[in-house]
Amino acid sequence: MGVAGRAPRPGSGGCPASRGARAWSGLPAPRPARAVGLPAPPATGGAAAPSASPAPVAPARPAAPVAEPAVLHVDIDAFFAAIEQQRDPRLAGRPVIVGAGVIASCSYEARAFGLRAGMPLSEARRLCPEAVILEGHAQVYRCFAEQIFACCREVSPAVETYLDEAYCDLGGTERLHGDLVEAARALKRAIRAATGLAVTCGIGPNRMLAKLIGKTVKPDGLARIGVAEADAFMRDQPVERVAGVGRAHARTLRSMNIRTAGELRALPVAALERLFGVAGRLLHERCRGRDTAVVSEREVPLSISRETSFHRDTADPAEIEGMLEYLAGRACRTARELGIRPRTVALRLRYGDGESAECARSLAAPSDADPVVLALALALLGRLFTRRVTLHALGVALSGFVRAGSEQGSLFEEREAGRRAALYRAFDGIRTEFGHGVLVSGRALHLKGRLEEDEHGFVLRTPSLTK
């Protein structure tokens, strides 16, 4: 499948810095005097002028112009809903909601009625009775996202991806791309040609500004902000928009009558550190438009989670434990595929009355084996599921990863661990070849016949929420 307007991959055509390099004559060109910090004058391309001094001097490397750091933020507009409209043209122009229980994504037509992600479906139906509600197709969304991220990797050597957005490091690519705004425009065209989807692009000197400037031109927009405009731009942004300010931090700041990034600047760094700990120092910089977080391809994810809601709220231990075993098994398989082992297992559950609970505990030693993770998850379930209320949703999350084989092994369990690893390698091989659902173990057998299955395993109720 081709990508129209594809830009050459950085590095594929030789080192960009070597392009246009002048041939050196034996003597250096006289360096014109210039103020520090100003860009170097353009190269003339002619031969070097003779030196005033007859003594031979080693050629000096010309000062390379210091490129302004540039980050491109790519945000897929109304991601899930846009794909559903793409797959079925009868949905075009209609309010479309994707989600089960709550809105996971909604089209811009739906947003005109005041609908937004996270809103309960009951409220959404009241606000917009004509909305088309779909449960979603997580597998399809993942395929589209991968295609979009592949387009991003054509323009940037470092791409950090999330569910529906990506950060692309464009620093130092000016010689390759020329005008970065034009490069972003070409990327938008390429993504539309490959997937039919619209994305919003923001370019800024750092991640935070790139994302924020993109927000001002959604949907299908493109905007750039430079270092010079950053200060004024950030000043009027609500504190919630400052990277690192979540709901709790925002509540604290609003209680202090601090509503904008400009007002946040009045607080000295020591006060922010007292309020928010290490994050306080970051906020001190970020409210001034300075963000030092780098764009990096995460080889090791922060967490791997699998969660879903039940088709019908349940208190049946067999169903709950079966689902937990299935979710833990899926998460462990992903960890094994990435060659990482989690140290921490977390369990989340949501009751039918909306109340939720979460708990995490560490394993004795990092492990990617299903029974080890499941044993801890079951222990957490026993500790968390204490109310006499049916469960609506269940999820398991693995975190604190170490590379497989890099951790200190146990002296006496080495043989057993090796046998278990070989067993799960064989399981994974069979599942890759014939589909995840061909092997179902233990408690998860209880789900057989109750849930539909496809080549990816059981069809869960909220696939759009199943990460």
Binding site: M1, R87, D88, P89, R90, L91, T432
Partner: protein, 84 residues
């Protein structure tokens, strides 16, 4: 909108020119459905051999999902989405 799973292997007439595949028509229960429009296509690269998916609208206006499995080049009719 209501999606009904079909999961049937079907015969598909397709164009493989230009390094990409475009379904033109498929047969189901002895009837030929001509593809009026390919709405979207995507590739699942997680399986060992990629699966190519197509959302197509036939001449009657119904929307079908076709799947070509690269391992054995067998076409599957996954589902149909109907109004209501």
């Amino acid at each position: 909108m209501r999606t009904e799973a079909i999961d049937e292997a079907v015969a598909v007439r397709a164009d493989f020119q230009g390094g990409k595949v475009t379904p033109l028509a498929f047969q189901r229960r002895g009837r030929e459905h001509r593809v009026a429009r390919v709405n979207a296509h995507w590739i699942d690269r997680v399986p060992r051999h990629p699966h190519f998916y197509f959302s197509v609208t036939d001449e009657s206006g119904d929307v079908y999902q076709l799947q070509l499995q690269a391992a054995d080049l067998v076409w599957w009719l996954d589902a149909v989405t109907v109004e209501g």
